[in-house]
């Protein structure tokens, strides 16, 4: 009876075989040439489930090199379970240097946030996308959507947004807020909060989007116009907070609400864990910082 050691298969660098990488690389080159257009690709089953970042992982795996420094975040934080898990995947299959510092990363794979710090033109951000089709809620059929994009027939989106205004007095989309890319394709930014949309416009970094389950890849080159859909009399407005970050005092970052007790006590903290740590390291202090230690609130050290 043969005795088999657990998991001793030799993986190709970054797991994907070279043929799959080539296929994805060809798709990426076309995607960058047609900003915001969803290119179909032959996505493979990955060792993580569909819906958990397989598209982002396949894009990262296809562009990643041995010299790259990789950052993986989920909800803006490096230490959320899925970010940890994806980092482990690349640690095992690619053994590249990892970082939590946005400024040190060559490639940032992200789920649902754009880092607060401005990205540079030597960086690439890879978004994990659950539903790449911005028209999906209005038109479930893929065949129909493809025609609407082909002929830029975006009337039904305009109508849906207008109906929103009629009902709520404003456009009530708060995340995955649709944008018009390079003046041509309506694009789904992925479920980033609308707070992050302005960062996409004319970004210095290359933005790549991977949807593994739906098998679509799209891209926005640097310095490309990305306009959140709105109307002249109802212009796009990102979210704002009255509060500042309880730990570092930041006024302009996306804040997570942390529930402290069952009496409505709460604390607001930067969602971007690296941004918050950097600010604290620079000496910025928020109103709840003194209490943070008593609260036992802090970042876990064993995320990496």
């Amino acid at each position: 009876m043969t005795h088999v050691e657990p998991n001793h298969t030799a993986y190709n660098f970054a797991y994907l075989d070279e043929q799959t990488k080539r296929m994805i690389r060809r798709v990426l080159l076309k995607a960058v040439a047609i900003p915001g257009y969803q290119v179909p690709f032959g996505g493979r089953e990955m060792p993580l489930p569909y819906g958990w970042g397989t598209g982002g992982i396949q894009v990262t795996a296809s562009i990643l090199g041995a010299e790259d420094v990789l950052k993986v975040i989920d909800q803006g934080a490096d230490d959320t379970t899925n970010a940890v898990n994806i980092r482990r995947f690349f640690a095992v299959t690619a053994n590249v240097r990892m970082t939590e510092k946005t400024s040190e990363a060559d490639i940032i794979q992200t789920r649902h946030r754009i880092p607060e710090e401005n990205l540079r033109d030597d960086q690439i951000i890879v978004y994990q996308v659950p539903i790449p089709e911005p028209l999906r809620k209005l038109e479930p059929r893929e065949e129909e959507c493809r025609k609407l994009h082909a002929y830029a027939e975006y009337g039904l989106m305009q109508v849906a947004l207008y109906e929103d205004i009629a009902r709520f007095g404003e456009i009530s989309i708060t995340y995955d807020y649709p944008v018009l890319t390079n003046g041509r394709y309506i694009t789904a930014p992925s479920p980033i909060p609308k707070f992050d949309n302005p960062k996409m416009n004319n970004m210095a970094a290359l933005q790549l989007f991977g949807a593994g389950r739906e098998k679509r890849i799209y891209a926005i080159p640097p310095y490309t116009s990305v306009a959140s859909l709105d109307f002249d009399d109802h212009p796009f407005k990102p979210q704002e907070w009255d509060e500042v970050c309880g730990l570092c005092g930041a006024q302009n970052s996306f804040l997570d609400e942390v529930i402290l007790d069952d009496k409505g006590g709460h604390l607001f903290v930067c969602s971007d864990s690296d941004y918050c740590s950097q600010r604290q390291a620079e000496g910025h202090v928020g109103p709840m910082a003194a209490d943070a230690e008593n609260l036992g609130f802090g970042r876990s050290n064993d995320a990496l």
Binding site: R22, R26, L28, L29, Y37, I63
Partner: protein
């Protein structure tokens, strides 16, 4: 039937470290198409076919395989190159330009006609050809002003070795957006990207 070993005797070598070098080559090409007009350097394979350059060969080794159809112009289509591609890439070499996913044009001034290649269609603009044009120089020629995604400000490129009607052919190509073909200009081991999204004006 000839033994495969005999067929492949004398084929020139490809990348020494294919996994890492094709990745680096791809990143340079991704950079070239994300920042059109910027000049990037591609890693060099150990050898390359006669009439080709290291950069052109690197691009082929990185992107071609048995799922791609390649058209070669007369200058590119040496026996050496065909055997090299068959061995290293396993790609299909087609006779008609319109069937090709990729075109390799070593003599762009010999009647390059962008109209011959697939431009995609309204529902699938990605199903268009990508061309590699081998040029004499990437700088030093008459300036063409480029503008569009990837460019912070309008930027000039000045390659030497494109056909005299290139600008007007490109204007027609760009007018097809989102359809259209995408181009890499290659010289030696360097590349410059021109995606269809870029408009060109003669300066």
């Amino acid at each position: 039937m000839m033994s495969p070993l005999v067929q492949f005797a004398g084929i020139k070598r490809g990348f020494q470290n294919p996994v890492q070098q094709t990745q680096r080559c791809f990143r340079s090409m991704l950079d070239a198409v994300s920042r059109p007009g910027s000049i990037t350097t591609l890693p060099s394979p150990s050898e390359h076919p006669a009439g080709w350059t290291t950069g052109l060969t690197a691009a082929a080794l990185t992107l071609f395989d048995n799922d791609t159809k390649i058209w070669l112009d007369a200058s590119a289509k040496s026996d050496d190159a065909v055997a090299y591609l068959r061995f290293h890439c396993g790609c299909v070499i087609v006779d008609e330009p319109e069937q090709a996913n990729f075109g390799v044009i070593c003599s762009p001034t010999d009647g390059l006609n962008l109209n011959q290649f697939a431009i995609g269609d309204a529902q699938y603009p990605d199903r268009s050809a990508t061309l590699f044009l081998l040029v004499e120089q990437l700088t030093g020629g008459a300036e063409l002003q480029c503008n569009g995604p990837g460019l912070k400000v309008p930027t000039g490129i000045s390659p030497i070795g494109l056909p005299p009607d290139f600008a007007s052919q490109w204007i027609d190509n760009h007018a097809l957006y989102p359809n259209g073909i995408d181009i890499f200009l290659i010289c030696g081991d360097q590349a410059l990207g021109l995606p269809r999204s870029i408009s060109i004006k003669e300066a």
